[in-house]
């Protein structure tokens, strides 16, 4: 399958700090990939650069062959990339249906809802994320696990081809994590390309077939989770220098 996202020599500096340093990788259509790295590695900054929330200092980000580096977030959404955030953000006092309907008003969302109408399209998305029975409820009274699903629903409202999930498991209970895992797997099986971060690795490493590891803004390696977990530099990044002596 073809390359959907090609990131080349991506660099982002904040003053004297290089948060992302000459970072390159590729994602193919239909891929299901994790981005890992210890706290402060630069994972969220990579997501912010791809989704337009930060402008790169240098380097290119090609989506479907077109350079999108430095475009505004809504333009990137219109091209087919949607994201969720580490901290849940909802329209607290609107119903879940209206929360999703807002993103269905995006260009791609309107195109996808042609014929059926925004409400029916938004309902179908709520059904896909398992929240359709709560369509009339506002997020303010929902548990955290449901709010996470809502974030994914809002992203899906823009009918993306590539979905970026930033730390989707953080702060969830075991049962909620399992629920969310099922949802993400279903979306992937339906053909969505998914790129997700996680600093708690138990869920992520057992979910995705491939991970990209980064540390201090730099690319370390790209491969199956088992291989990445045995890489000396990855181990050092997580456990500290000298960890290769561990069993």
């Amino acid at each position: 399958m073809g390359v959907i996202l090609e990131v080349k020599n991506l660099t982002k500096k904040f003053g004297g700090l290089t948060a992302v340093n000459d970072f390159s990788f590729e994602i193919k259509r239909g891929d299901f990939i994790g981005l890992i790295g210890p706290n402060g590695a630069g994972k969220t900054t990579v997501f912010n650069l791809i989704s337009g929330f930060e402008k790169p200092s240098s380097g290119s980000i090609r989506f479907d062959g077109v350079n999108i580096a430095g475009l505004r977030p809504y333009k990137i959404v219109n091209k087919g990339i949607a994201r969720t955030f580490q901290l849940v953000r909802s329209f607290k006092f609107l119903s879940l249906l209206d929360n999703v309907s807002v993103s269905c008003q995006s260009r791609r969302g309107r195109e996808a809802s042609k014929g059926v109408g925004i409400d029916a399209y938004a309902s179908s998305i709520l059904a896909a994320v398992g929240l359709v029975d709560k369509a009339r409820i506002p997020p303010v009274i929902l548990p955290h696990g449901d709010l996470r699903k809502l974030q994914i629903g809002k992203a899906l409202g823009t009918n993306p081809e590539l979905l970026l999930l930033d730390e989707p498991f953080s702060g969830l209970s075991h049962e909620e994590q399992q629920n969310l895992t099922d949802l993400i797997l279903r979306l992937h099986e339906d053909g969505l390309t998914i790129f997700m971060t996680g600093h708690v690795l138990r869920e992520l490493m057992n979910l995705v077939p491939r991970v990209i590891a980064m540390h201090q803004g730099k690319f370390i390696m790209d491969g199956p989770p088992q291989e990445v977990a045995n890489n000396k530099i990855v181990l050092e990044a997580y456990l500290g220098k000298g960890s290769e002596e561990f069993a």
């Binding site: 402060g40 456990l239 960890s243």
Partner: protein
Amino acid sequence: MKNLLEMKKIYHYYGKARALEEINLKIEEKALDAIIGPNGAGKSTLLRVISGLEEPDRGKIFFLGERIDGLKAHRITKKGISHCPERRRLFYDMTVEDNIKMGAYVQKDKAIYKKQLELMFELFPRLKERRKQRAGTLSGGEQQMLAIARSFMSNPKLLLLDEPSLGLAPKVKKAIFEAIEKIKSEGTTTLLVEQDAVLAMNVGENIHLLEEGKIEMRGTSEQLKKEPRIKKVYLGI
């Protein structure tokens, strides 16, 4: 050796998410123990529950044989537990010296204050040189030194150190950890939380491995280094 601190079946929740599950922990007097574990394992919560910044939902905590769970943080500080928080939390607009003084607000004895101050300046000569400078103008390593010095000024019986190596260059990490060992050798019981497992194992006598709120394993660093499970806990696979 007698136990300075004892935690019995401690549970703590943030909403529905369980942060700590059945924590049993004993810290002997004069020990230097370390809690290791990946991000989100509950390490900082464990320290916060001890120092009273969080009240445990269930379980008991004894300090010198006396129940302290449920007490307010300032009362626990007065009893002799000092908490050096993650990311330092200095008073950045105050001078180095004033930050240090703030740490001594429960220490009314001038003689002890002077002795502690001298010890800290001996341990961290950089802080002495910079004592009139605003804390916000210090480097990351110096700020960490100041945070440790501040928490030591109350002359604690138990010092809780949360991620003292966070964001520091290897050389600076080394200096900080030498200071921690020195503080220990002066007789202060220390409980250290560290993500850098190697650093923690180099100084810690007893290592407690935390995963998803539970103590999964404990032992000396020699014992734990032989355990393949540590890598699995950190890397999830």
